[in-house]
Symmetry: C2
Subunit: 339 residues, 2 copies
């Protein structure tokens, strides 16, 4: 008989198909062919800077903006989901016929190019490069969070086609929205309720509980705790949580940020060797701009390898069926080589 | 500038990328090769009845149970996500260490084989066959909703690999759960709030508003209203709503059920010709068993063609970015041939 587990961050249920669960190594993907180091048609490759909007940040030695020589570069997304309103006025809101509520799509949408090399993935970065990607993300977070009309700054990464990317060149994205997503509001409400009931941070206490339980821990290093959560929605879902409490990604200091780069490089390396460079998404969960200093939320990062398909049951009910046991995937990943 | 629209059923936001929106015909998929009419290895093909658990329902003329001769057949899923507990006792619940809440995976998981033919899809069914699939789904709903420990009966369909199916033989699935999904609880809360504020059903009033707005209506027939909702989360998302109020799928009479079969055949036919037999999911949203006769919920069915990939932004924020305008896809689908 399968098990139904409850996710502490949302109270949502997950079905863990314990009986037909696959072994951790069954999720290995056939290796993909690596693209070339340089693609002349790629707008993110050096020399093609003119194919993108002017950069908002460039880590480079010498050389001017929007020219080669950078090792990290941030640009507005040419196909922005949300964009700046001239004059930065309040977004117009409208409701038509009582049912059709809308507002202007104001916000920001940026792309962070993690490396000039078209085919160099995070696990193969130098430690220094991994650190600087994390530092650049923080820099952009801090640049955007107090811009007019911004309520949340959402950082994410799509790696591979089945994770929703069309451009292979390694990059992250940053979307700053003029609204707080309902799903974040619910996470905040769940954590606030916990705080009121228990006088502590839900996530701080969760780290402690997972540490005691031991069996789902991937890594417990100086500043970060890496776990396959009890109610994992999909195989090898991996959470990276800072060990000292902070509601916002923007609140971490430079040392922690560097360490985050190292942890990410190591964990992504293990996932890559163990599963054959699978497609994955990374999402950063962080507090809304106006709640960055609250006691009841705790920023963290989730890696979701795209090993299974979301089907009708998940879409219709919001309940995921996971065919892997986090108690089995976590030890397997712990032992895997980081590259 | 894009538009951010609010979904009336969840209050969640959707970004409609109006400026970079694709034209309806841009979503056409390259045609897939049709499988053979009979696959000797398929457990759902006639003659292979012994490869599945014993059937719980068979529409057949002559012939015994679990033998060929059926035109519709329902069986327990051999790889059930939820299953019956011997003795039908209450599912065991447990909470370990304050954080790890779980319960037994009791419930039901059935598969409805829509046709004996391995390669015959819904739009190609006779009207009679389409009717009877809908009738058989209703029959199973009514058989399951009062079984012990069942809180919701969820009907869905996965068509094609990218919609999460591994078996091509046309089938639907029915999962009866011992819990009410959080996402359904929220939909109920949203609709209840609307009912309290306005004294009417949210969905009944929404149908009226979309009828007046006109531009997103795909079909407005005797018993069903078909629309591309204002805040569509993905291109060609299609809702089919019964025009007379009913909270539960199980509440419709036989005539409406037959009509549902016809509408589904027609709409899926249009989607298939217009988009090249794309993969899709169908999900039925229906009230929990204990709320089947409430005034504030309204069962309906959603078809979600899998034309785009869910990426990190959607996973992290719950906000979808839709690159099609329902105002453009609805008229295009309205004019499409049903096959």
């Amino acid at each position: 008989m399968s098990e139904i587990r409850q996710d502490i961050s949302t109270n949502e249920w997950v079905i863990i198909a314990t009986e037909r669960a696959k072994r951790p190594h069954d999720f290995m993907k056939p290796p993909k062919q690596l693209p070339p180091e340089f693609d002349p048609k790629c707008p993110f490759c050096p020399g093609n800077e003119g194919m993108t909007p002017p950069e908002v940040l460039g880590y480079r030695q010498g050389g001017g903006a929007n020219a080669p020589g950078w090792w990290i570069r941030v640009i507005p997304n040419r196909f922005a989901a949300l964009s700046r309103r001239p004059g930065d006025g309040e977004p117009k809101r409208d409701i038509e016929g009582g049912f059709f509520r809308k507002m202007d799509g104001v916000g920001r949408h940026e792309v962070l190019l993690e490396t000039p090399k078209h085919n160099l993935y995070f696990p193969n970065f130098t430690d220094k490069q991994a650190e600087e990607v994390a530092i650049a993300l923080r820099e952009r977070y801090l640049a955007l969070h107090h811009e007019p009309n911004i309520k949340v700054v959402i950082i994410f990464k799509n790696h591979g086609e089945s994770a929703g990317t069309s451009l292979l060149h390694p990059h992250c994205q940053i979307v700053a929205t003029p609204i707080v997503p309902q799903s974040l509001r619910r996470r905040l409400a769940t954590a606030t309720r916990y705080f009121d009931d228990n006088g502590g941070c839900l996530y701080c206490d969760y780290i402690e509980a997972e540490r005691k339980a031991e069996k789902r821990v991937v890594e417990d290093s100086a500043k970060f705790f890496v776990v396959h959560p009890y109610a994992s929605r999909s195989p090898f879902e991996t959470w990276i949580l800072p060990k000292s409490h902070a509601a916002s990604f923007g609140n971490q200091d430079i040392d922690s940020t560097k360490e985050l780069g190292h942890v990410l490089k190591r964990v992504l390396g293990k996932i890559s060797t163990m599963l054959g460079n699978p497609d994955y998404n990374i999402v950063v969960h962080t507090a809304p701009v106006n709640e960055e200093n609250e006691d009841y939320f705790h920023w963290h990062l989730r890696i979701i390898p795209r090993l299974t398909m979301m089907a009708g049951f998940e879409i219709g009910s919001g309940i995921f069926i996971n065919t892997a046991l986090p108690e089995e995937t976590a030890p397997a990943l712990r032992e895997a080589k980081a590259l």
